[in-house]
Amino acid sequence: MKTIVMPGNPSCQGCPHAIGLKALGLALEDFVLVIPAGCSTIIAGIHPKATLNVPVLHVPFASAPAVAAGISAAFKRENKKKNVVIWMGDGGADIGFATISGSAVRNDDIIVIVSDNEAYMNTGIQASGTTFWKAKTTTSPAGKREDRKDLAAIMLMHRVPYVATASVGYMNDFIKKLEKVKSIKGFRFIHLHSPCPPGWRFDSSKTVEIARMAVKCGAWILWEFDGKFNLSPASKPYKDKNKRKDLKDYLKMQGRFKGLSENEILEIEKAIDKQWKYIECFENI
């Protein structure tokens, strides 16, 4: 256990990546980080200073899992037990989707963490494949019309040893999952929910609160597959729709949903319900 995110790093106030990266240091012992283009490129600091207290290799946007596969192959040649961990955003996961998929198919011995802030934040809040329904971004100024893709579910269908979702609002759950994956061999994937204060338009003190609210209203579902599919304890109560917090409360905390009509909120609710139906199916596998 060590502090890997050093004080004075240039992340925004309330940045979820800084929270998530901390968990890596708490859970993993011997690892290297591969970071493709994104907010974390900045957070890692400007030469000659560095803010992450582990070996970091910065790589082109779409390349991270392929580079990590090469590093992992090199480590294997020397019987090094280091974990190769990718820390990428939803942008890297969009542009590098074929690369993630190829790596999963090969069952490369790497850990992929997608810290998903639901838009391309580093370039200034443009919609991504995982941008929340109806969310306003600079490329969806009237609200995103398309559906959002369920990245973790897609990775689950690659039949890899480990897939999970996590949230920066539930650090114990995230750390527990990281502790589990560190000794699993092969391709391991964690989709981390990371609310972004400037991107989602909320006060920087509310990151954790909003992350927790996303789980409580059922919009973000915590689960794990390690050979068996399990709903994580924090999400279990919300399988029962009646126990979920009011979706409106989650939406109104964020400027990106400003001006949503009742109808639009209903559409989001339906999309969330549909998401849960998939989860129920996965539970029965």
Binding site: V32, V34, T41, I42, A44, G45, I46, H47, A50, L52, N53, V54, P55, V56, L57, H58, V59, P60, A62, S63, P65, A66, V67, A68, A69, G70, I71, S72, A73, A74, F75, K76, R77, K80, K82, A98, T99, S101, G102, V105, R106, D108
Partner: protein, 374 residues
């Protein structure tokens, strides 16, 4: 040991003899056989290496970037569209100063789809900081690949071993292959100025502009003096094999009034054409470029001084001329530049003889010859 093999097989053999530890590749005609052969070698245990079966060329070069940066001798191969698909990584690898070797089997860029040779694809790498070599025959493809690792590791620059589609990749020729012991004595264990993962270092992070400029300056200066490393390595190789694979090759040029400059497989046909014309008493010779980066300006100037010069390009910079012709024009005067063989259009001994004769009659002007030499 003398044997018969295609260019693709010879490159795979050189990669094996180099004790390459990580190979990542994606198939593309006409390079595919190289990686098929290597996959077989790894599967059968003939080659003790990791083979990463990537899903794209971008990932092929990305993976060997990862293994090379983590300290392992690494290899990939590609061609044409594959090279363009990995173009981002081409620059990244060079700017990161990571030694590795990539074979590029030159192939026309579409549309229309075309699997035959021209040199435009490999020349897109020209400004990136890769050492770029181009073989004339299967033997050179083998020799350059083997030497590539040593040159790359001494300079901390990536190395391209280029060869023409089908004319070399799929044509069987007699090749002399080194035994493992000789290869080992020529190529020492891999060296690298930094290895990722050993210390808490950050590689490739954001940096002040001056830092980028300083790094580019360093690459520029390394490329400027790369000729000395290539001289040294090719001399070492020559001492072992008797074969010189230096920056340039001079063919019947000492007393030539007319000098042809070109690179790649068709240089072999050019030699035959020159022999024909020499029989007629035409004083013509060839300067073959075995490397396009580094480009040995002074040596080229010295060899060509006082002669009529024809640069023959199998590549094209649209609206300007041949890429090699344009290069030479940047430091020499009075060059005639002809583009031919684009899209794999056959230009053999007969066509070259006609073309060179016309050149020796001072009737040749800069032109692009698409289909036939008039």
């Amino acid at each position: 040991m003398k044997t018969i093999m295609t260019g693709n097989q010879a490159v795979a053999e050189a990669v094996k003899l180099s004790r390459t530890e990580v190979i990542a590749a994606y198939p593309i005609t006409p390079q595919t056989v190289i990686v098929e052969k290597l996959a077989e070698m790894v599967d059968s245990g003939e080659l003790d290496a990791e083979f990463i079966r990537v899903e794209s060329e971008h990932s092929a070069l990305a993976s060997v970037y990862g293994s090379a940066v983590a300290g392992k001798r690494s290899f990939t191969a590609t061609s044409s569209h594959g090279l363009l698909y990995m173009y981002e990584m081409v620059w990244w690898v060079a700017n990161a100063r990571v030694p590795l070797v990539m074979a590029v089997v030159t192939r026309t860029i579409g549309p229309p789809w075309n699997i035959h040779t021209d040199h435009t694809d490999i020349l897109t790498m020209r400004d990136s900081g890769w050492i770029i070599s181009m073989a004339e025959n299967v033997q050179e493809a083998f020799d350059l690949t083997l030497q590539g690792f040593k040159i790359s590791e001494e300079l901390n620059l990536p190395f391209t071993a280029g060869m023409d589609a089908f004319q070399l990749s799929h044509t069987s020729e007699v090749v002399e292959i080194l035994d493992q012991e000789t290869a080992d004595s020529f190529l020492p264990e891999r060296r690298q100025c930094y290895v990722f993962g050993e210390e808490n270092t950050t590689i490739g992070s954001l940096a002040p502009n001056e830092c980028t400029a300083k790094l580019r300056k360093d690459t520029f200066e390394t490329m400027l003096k790369a000729d000395k490393t290539i001289d040294k390595v090719s001399k070492e190789y020559e001492e072992i094999t008797g074969r010189n694979c230096g920056l340039i090759e001079e063919y019947r040029i000492d007393d030539a009034e007319y000098a042809v400059v070109m690179m790649g497989a068709w240089s072999g046909d050019a030699k035959d054409a020159i022999d024909e014309l020499r029989k007629e008493g035409i004083p013509i010779g060839l300067l073959k470029l075995r490397y396009i980066r580094p480009i040995p300006q002074k040596r080229i100037e010295k060899v060509l001084e006082g002669r009529e010069i024809l640069v023959l390009d199998r590549d094209c910079s649209m609206g300007l001329g041949g890429i090699i012709g344009t290069e030479l024009k940047s430091f020499m005067d009075d060059i005639t530049n002809v583009i031919a063989g684009i899209g794999g259009v056959d230009v053999g001994v007969n066509e070259l003889t006609k073309l060179f004769r016309k050149f020796s009659e001072d009737k040749l002007k800069d032109e692009v010859i698409f289909l036939e030499v008039i």
